[in-house]
């Protein structure tokens, strides 16, 4: 129980320490999702999965390097749990950014070809 409480405190202190970066990420996500609200969401799942699948292996290698180490220093279960867990987190975050961006790009590309879907949300009208 104490260790869980300690870990929560560490996370809280990390958030305080990097509050501007955390705020920027949250604000960026909020703005992107707000901008993409009402745009076509039919390809959300594949977009998320594709980006996450690309970022995950990169994060496996890259995150330990970012922290002055290397994935080759992962030697036993808890190390691999950390490496895989943090890479999964990075992949999810990348996916969360990618989905609204993809929606916006797709809509912009199609803007000249056909009218926007209704802002109230839902799928584009069937032909």
């Amino acid at each position: 129980m104490y260790e869980i409480w300690l870990m929560l405190n560490i996370v809280w202190e990390l958030v305080l320490l990097h509050r501007w970066a955390v705020a920027a990420v949250l604000l960026g996500l909020a703005l992107l999702w707000a901008a993409a609200r009402g745009r076509s969401g039919r390809r959300t799942g594949p977009t998320f999965a594709l980006v996450a699948a690309v970022v995950f292996p990169l994060a496996i290698v890259g995150l330990p390097m970012l922290f002055g180490s290397s994935v080759t220093e992962a030697r036993y279960g808890p190390d691999w749990l950390l490496v895989i867990g943090s890479a999964a987190g990075a992949a999810m975050l990348a996916g969360l950014f990618a989905v609204p961006v993809a929606r916006l790009l797709r809509t912009d590309r199609n803007a000249g070809a056909r009218p926007h879907p209704p802002l109230s949300g839902g799928a584009a009208p069937r032909a």
């Binding site: 260790e3 202190e13 990390l14 320490l17 002055g68 290397s70 220093e73 279960g77």
Partner: protein, 441 residues
């Protein structure tokens, strides 16, 4: 403070006690004890604004709103000392270990920006170097320790960073200067001497980490092959926990680090780059060096060493350490005095991790004493040492008074070099340290 200990508690007092007990800091005492202590307007004086002092100040300010809490310390800066090894080996910038005490101390306490010069435990008064008299009902001693560089003839702390002299312990500037000396040395390599005194040490793992990382820096620079790194221990071991001692010696043997036991740094000639080591038999050996890491002998601060609070006999008397019971951390002769951190005359732990686990014990036992009850919370001597093996890898070693390995999480293998332990050292322990200072864990 003349409370009526039998007075009934008001609903508000009970509520306050329940909230305080509910916080993670006070599972060690009952709500009744806390409520009783909260009736007192006790004068609590804390000597020292290091990790122990600030942690206790935050805890007590929250738990005892009616108490008068006074911090006595002139220091305005707060240094994250566990980060010194990272600064001294080029992993962190020095700015990462510097903060201010003002940002860490709780509101509502009195801060006397003077240094304690004298303690009279009979009349319960602390006198500062400016002559201010600070009376107390309860005293928390958290002065830290004194680095006795002067005990090494020829040693000049101003030389740290040049002429191959390094010392991780001499504050942030000393750590930063140590990295300058190490960075110069790694380019060419040569003879490196890494010293260890026989006194109790603040972070006893630091001299070992410095040795591991020096060897790693030489390896990275391609100069390890033409270098000779020798660890000169004044003791018969390099670390007090037998399993760790054996493991480190095995690693050094494989890595080409030589070890000489019972070699105490007795003298240094910085200009000639010569160090003299003395053996228990009285022999003296002169060693040339291109790089030397000096670990100073350590002792209690003068204010404690010269006070009636110091040990009078036993293994802690020579250094003048605070005479506390190793379990309750209460003074053995003055029951209204408690100790926390490096100043305590207890085995082993002089680390921030020790403060982390002992601060709740001191808080609980002090509150029990204020409430007129016997202290019951017990400290097992927990301490921790993330032993950096090389850049990117460490071992997370936790142990108690008796040298038993006590990993906090069952899946952690203290003997396993690990990325997780490295990440904890460089990214997670500082946030944990701040949570300790704020009295939340």
């Amino acid at each position: 403070m003349n409370p009526d200990r039998n007075a009934p508690f008001s609903r508000r007092q009970w509520l306050h006690a329940l909230v305080a007990v509910g916080s993670a800091s006070l599972p060690l005492i009952s709500g009744r004890t806390l409520a009783a202590a909260q009736q007192h307007s006790a004068r609590v004086v804390i000597l020292g604004s290091g990790a122990g002092g600030i942690s206790l100040a935050n805890r007590l300010a929250r738990a005892l709103p009616a108490a008068s809490i006074t911090m006595v310390d002139r220091k305005e800066a707060h240094h994250y000392q566990p980060g010194y090894t990272l600064v001294a080996t080029g992993i962190w910038d020095v700015a990462q270990v510097i903060d201010t005490n003002a940002s860490l101390l709780p509101g509502g306490i009195r801060w006397v920006r003077e240094m304690a010069r004298e303690i009279d435990p009979e009349s319960r008064v602390v006198t500062t170097d400016a002559g201010t008299r600070v009376p107390y009902d309860f005293l928390v001693v958290a002065t830290g320790l004194a680095l006795d560089y002067a005990a090494i003839p020829g040693m000049d702390v101003a030389a740290i960073g040049r002429d191959g002299v390094a010392s991780v312990y001499n504050g942030p500037d000393g750590a930063s200067a140590t990295w300058r000396a190490m960075a110069q040395f790694r380019e060419r390599g040569g003879d490196a001497l890494m010293t260890l005194p026989a006194t109790p040490l603040k972070c006893a793992g630091a001299p070992l980490k410095m040795t591991f990382l020096l060897a790693d820096r030489l390896r990275q620079a391609g100069t390890l092959e033409r270098s000779r790194v020798t660890f000169e221990s004044a003791l018969g071991v390099v670390f007090g926990v037998p399993r760790i001692n054996e493991d480190v010696l095995r690693r050094w043997k494989e890595g080409g680090v030589a070890v000489e036991f019972n070699h105490r740094l007795a003298e240094i000639d910085i200009g000639r780059r010569r160090a003299v080591f003395a053996t228990p038999e009285g022999e003296r050996h002169e060693r040339p060096y291109d790089f030397i890491h000096v670990v100073p002998p350590m002792r209690a601060t003068d204010v404690i060493r010269t006070s009636p609070l110091a040990w009078r006999e036993g293994p802690f008397a020579a250094g003048g350490w605070l005479e506390v019971d190793r379990s309750t951390l209460r003074h053995r002769r003055y029951p209204n005095v408690f100790g926390i951190g490096d100043i305590n005359g207890t085995p082993r732990g002089k680390t921030a991790a020790t403060v982390k686990k002992s601060a709740p014990v001191v808080e609980a036992n002090l509150i029990s004493t204020i409430a007129g009850r016997e202290p019951t919370a017990s400290f097992d001597g927990y301490t921790s040492c993330p032993m950096i093996i090389r850049e990117g890898s460490a071992m997370l070693i936790e142990f108690d008074y008796d040298g038993r390995l006590t990993p906090s999480l069952p899946m952690i293998d203290p003997m396993q070099e690990s990325y997780l332990a490295w990440l904890m050292k460089v990214k997670m322990l500082k946030p944990a340290y701040y949570a300790v200072l704020r009295g939340r864990v």
